[in-house]
Structure formats: C-alpha cells, structure tokens
C-alpha cells in the first residue's frame, strides 16, 4: 500500500516537474528578449511582455479570421512581432539613446500601456478562447501515470532549438559578433565599422520575433487570451532574466527553467495563491547572495 502511494507521489512530482519545465521554457524564450535587449541597448524593455500578447492575438486572428493553419499563424505572429519590435525601438527608444535610464524606463512602461489599450480598443476586454497551435497527441508513460501533453513537448523542443540556433548565430556570424561587440563597447564597435543603431534594431527584431513564438506557445498552454495576457508572464520572464543574470543568454535559459519549476512545484505542494510570492522571494534571496544573478558577469561600468 505505502509503496504504491509512494510511487504515485513520485509520478505526480514528475508530472509537476515536466509541466514546470514547459512553463519555464516559455519564460526562457521571453527572458531572451529582455536579456538580449538589456545586454545590447542597456535598457529594460518593459513593453516586451505586451509584444507576447500581440503575438497571441496575431495567431488568434490568423487562425480564426483568416483561417490559416497553425504553422502559418505562428509565422504571421513572428512577422507581426518582429515588425512591432523594430517600430517600438525606432519610434519610442531611439530618440532617447542619450536620455537618462529613468526616462527610458518610463517610456517603456508607457509603450506597455499603449499596447494593452490598443488591444483593448480593437479586441475588447473579454477573454478569447485560444485554439492551440499544437496538434501532437499527448504521450503517456509509466502506465498512464505520467502524461506529457503535445504543448509541453513542442514548447521544450522549440526552446532548445532556439537556444542552440541563437548561440550559433552569436558565435558564428558577423552580425552575432557585432552584437557582442556593441554590448561591450558601443564606441569601439562603431570604430570597427559596425552600425550600432542597426545592431540595436536587429536585437529588438530578434527578441520580439521570439516573443511572437512565446505568445503562440503560452496561449496554447493556457488558452485564454486578453489584452493583459502578456503582462504577468512578461514580469516573470524579467525575473527569470535577472535571476539567471541579465545580459546572459544561458542565464535566461537557466533562470526561465528554474522559475517555471519553482512556480509549478509551489503551486502543487505549497499553495497556488502563494506561488508568485514564493517565486519573487527566491529572486530576492538569489540577488542578496549574488547580485548579478546566477550566471551574471560582474557589471563593470566603463567611463
């Protein structure tokens, strides 16, 4: 009897762990956008979470109004978010390149509200029922005691692919090396012949494109869509980025995964109301012990 109960406990723990990894994968993909933009433009783009919401609506409209298949809908979402990211950077942030960080931060919050209200105006405040973009069947393991949904599989796989491709891009391509150069020293990068403005724009494009993917995956796993859908995951992913070490790409992955797992296990074993509080407490503790986050480098401000 106790042995069977113990086995059940292990199985349910594994279930929570796997779905936590899936949620964490989404956080990781979103956190990449925060961390890359911070690394290169040295700013926190608080509108990033709302780009995810726009991605969600792009998928929703593509599938429901245009009747596109899920793959095409995700591609539309990537394109819409990429363009949106470039436009936001050009219109809202580029004019502030020499402004104080506070002015930029306030602008970012303004952009966030703008996007939410624009969505409210167009789509209304009622929650839309989102059709999943994933149509892979769930697998069940250990005589059905462990179930892994199609969404979970796809999310984790997509996250791994993104990490690998992005790492190769940065390590192996000229544009990727230019991004690293800009993140270290903008003036020196200009002296290499690198167009810093274009590189920043590219970073926003990539981060926002990834938000388009994240929007599709997030809404597939949690299928209600409102103008505020991106806001909480956005904040959590920001926490994940800080947790892992803002500016670090592997940090975004580890931070995202850990956050997803901690959140899910807290919900399961402690209290679902307390889960968010626990997540933020963990962040505070990590930052007290290691202010640069788990994989963060020392922040050495150059003059």
């Amino acid at each position: 009897m106790t042995r069977i109960a113990g086995r059940e406990k292990v199985m349910s723990f594994l279930n929570y762990l796997i779905s936590g990894l899936s949620l964490g994968s989404v956080y990781a993909i979103i956190a990449l956008g925060y961390t890359m933009v911070y690394g290169i433009a040295k700013m926190l783009n608080f509108a990033h979470g709302d780009v995810i919401m726009v991605g969600g609506f792009a998928v929703y409209m593509s599938m429901n109004a245009l009747g596109l298949n899920p793959i095409l809908a995700v591609i539309v979402s990537i394109i819409v978010c990429t363009v949106l990211g470039i436009v936001i950077e050009k219109v809202a942030y580029k004019p502030l390149r020499k402004a104080t960080p506070l002015a930029v931060l306030i602008t970012a919050i303004g952009v966030s509200y703008f996007l939410q209200n624009l969505a409210l105006l167009i789509f209304g405040s009622d929650a839309k029922l989102f059709t999943s973009v994933v149509n892979i069947k769930a697998i069940s393991l250990a005589n059905g005691q462990i179930t892994i949904t199609g969404e979970t599989i796809v999310t984790i796989v997509v996250c791994i692919i993104i990490m690998v491709v992005l790492s190769l891009f940065i390590k192996k391509t000229k544009a990727g090396q230019a991004m690293l150069a800009v993140s270290e020293d903008k003036e020196a990068a200009e002296l290499m012949g690198i167009n810093v403005n274009k590189t920043i724009s590219l970073t926003f494009a990539i981060g926002s494109g990834l938000a388009g993917i994240a929007g599709a995956l997030l809404c597939s796993a949690y299928p209600t869509l409102t103008p505020y859908t991106g806001s909480m995951p956005g904040i959590k992913a920001f926490v994940a980025a800080v947790f892992g070490g803002i500016g670090s790409i592997p940090g975004a992955l580890i931070g995202g995964l850990l956050l997803g797992v901690i959140e899910n296990l807290s919900k399961a074993y402690i209290s679902s109301q307390m889960a968010d509080a626990i997540v933020f407490s963990v962040l505070i503790i990590v930052l007290l012990v290691k202010p640069t986050g788990l994989l963060g480098k020392k922040i050495s401000e150059k003059v």
Binding site: K174, Q177, A178, L180, A181, E184, D185, E187, A188, A189, E190, L191, M192, G193, I194, N195, V196, K297
Partner: protein, 236 residues
Amino acid sequence: MAMLEVKDLEVTYGVIKAIKGVSFEVNEGEVISLIGANGAGKTTILHAVSGLLGKAGGTVTYEGQDITAYPAHKIVELGMAHVPEGRRVFAQLSVLENLKLGAYTRKDKKELEDTLQTVYKRFPRLEERKNQMAGTLSGGEQQMLAMGRALMSHPKLILMDEPSMGLSPILVEEIFSIIRDISASGTTVLLVEQNAKKALAIADRAYVLETGNIILSGSAEELINDESVKKAYLGE
C-alpha cells in the same frame, strides 16, 4: 591636396567648448604628431575626425570627401582606422574574434586571411594568444591587439591615441618601432601623444595643442629645437 584636412574644427561638450577652431592637415605617407598636455583636447579631436563626436563647427575632409557629418562606422569603410585611447579591446572576446571584428567592413575572405597573417607577423604574441580572452592580456599586449585590430581594416590612414600610455619603457620602444613599421609599409599616421619626445622623434610634422587651440606647428625638427616646446613638453 591633403589626405585629411581639418578646418576650423569646433567641438563642444554641452556648453563647454573643448575645441575652439582647430585646423591641420595630414598628407599621404606622413607621420603627424599632435602633442599637448592632459586635457588639451587631443582625444576630442580624434573622436571628431573619426566620427564618434559631432562637430559644432568646421569641416573634416578626407581624400577630397566632406566627411564632417559621417557616422564613425561609415568613415571606417573609407579606409580610416582609429586606435582609441585606453585600447578599448573587447575584453570578453578572444584575440582572434577581436581581430576579425577589426575587419568587419571587409568582404573578401582570402584578402582577410592574408591581412591576418601580416598582423600575426607584426605581432607574433597575438598569434600565440589568439584563443585567449582579450581581457586577460597584459597592457602591452592589449595595445598590440588594438593596433592589430585597426590594421585588419587595411586602413590608408590610422589615428592612434596615446599608444604608449601606461607601458614600460621597453614596451614604449617596441610600440614606437611598430608605428615606424606601419608608416614604412605605406599607411599614413596621425599620432596623439603626451610623450612629446617620442612623438616628435617619429613625426614628419607636428602640431602643439593647448586648451583647444593649436598654438604651434611645424616640422618635427623645428619643434624639437623650439625653446617653448623644449621647456613645456620636453622637460629641458
């Protein structure tokens, strides 16, 4: 026509005018030194020439082209490289990655490989350490990397800002002998130095800068023998 012609250049930081109408020229093949005390405005002039800083007045002409309003990354493409004060190597990247970034504007892979070999020949230590992070190099090695990185763009004109700063006397000798080599291989050099003795010894002509104005110019020989230069800059 001069290769680089700076006319009535003015540069301001906010309300402070750091450069107050400076004119000078660099002819092809020359080594020109710009000397002056700390804070005279040497770095500011180089930053304005290479496009890192905007100009409040005056013009910069390079090979007959008005480049006054060009951004820095475009000026690099025209064949002007700038070795900045304090080296500014990319500390988190390897020596080789730094060098490759120096060739960012160049397309031809084969030519690039040749230039890399030339740079390695000139700085054998860079080849030995090509996979090492630039931040872990010594000061002298970082200076060599900064120079090698600039040479990777195959420049016609190279600007150098205090390349000998903070280096031991032996390394200072080495750096100046490399500058001589670079000049001998056909690259025009505009050198900024506080080490006036060395800078005049290597130069064809020189300009003396004092709080944003050029107060003296002439052949290096004339300036070495000038009483006021001797007193203020050569410590004699």
